[in-house]
Symmetry: C2
């Protein structure tokens, strides 16, 4: 296929592939859970996380299982008073992977700002018709 | 359930729910497609997008259909030389929604940096045992 000169696609192959956006972390609810856990070094109880992330029990459980399976989050059981409780906290490697992910997210934001600045949608499209 | 005093979950309810992270835009591949289109006001051809985002034909088609359905992207048909070609570009409202989304993403990055700074994972967990 003929290349359009102005897109510069050849030189920028894969430029916006964002390989570093780990899908386990990128999911919206899990992003909130990880951000909540990032500042609570001692971990958070299920209900704390539920309130911070505004998730249902079922959704929160499901996402915590994915995060635990991926070894981003570790689960601890303990007693608080007479109640058996469960505590969730970031693993050391989870903290590292989350920081790496946030670095990629920063580059997404920087890319978007730069690309939006370059493009303004005013030019008419001569010779093309809506599909 | 008893609240842990140090989590501050009560005052920060929903703080990390990230309602503004539009799921249509947040998907990793679509994020790349929208960033690519943001600077190309005249639109991009299918193969340009494919190269920029390193996607297969099938995946790219599928994501463009979702973006078009959500009225973020518009599709134009035209001839370049003797070839029938298809051009994709951001709609005006798509550009606006993408900019809004990037604003939310910036707050995610700022939250994460702040929360990671607050938390360092050194404190031992007395009285809890791994699940």
């Amino acid at each position: 296929m003929a290349r359009r000169k102005d897109s510069g696609a050849d030189e920028r192959a894969g430029r916006f592939g964002y390989e570093g956006l780990d899908r386990v972390i990128h999911e919206k609810a899990r992003l909130g859970i990880l951000t909540s856990l990032a500042s609570n070094e001692g971990g958070l109880l299920f209900n704390d996380l539920k309130a911070l992330c505004r998730l249902t029990d079922g959704n929160l459980s499901r996402h915590l299982a994915v995060l635990s399976e991926a070894e981003l989050v570790e689960i601890w059981k303990g007693k608080r008073g007479s109640r058996q409780q469960t505590l969730y906290r970031l693993t050391a490697s989870g903290r590292k992977r989350f920081a790496d992910y946030i670095g990629v997210l920063e580059s997404v934001v920087a890319d978007a700002h730069r690309e939006m600045k370059k493009g303004t949608r005013s030019r008419p499209l001569w010779g093309w018709s809506p599909a």
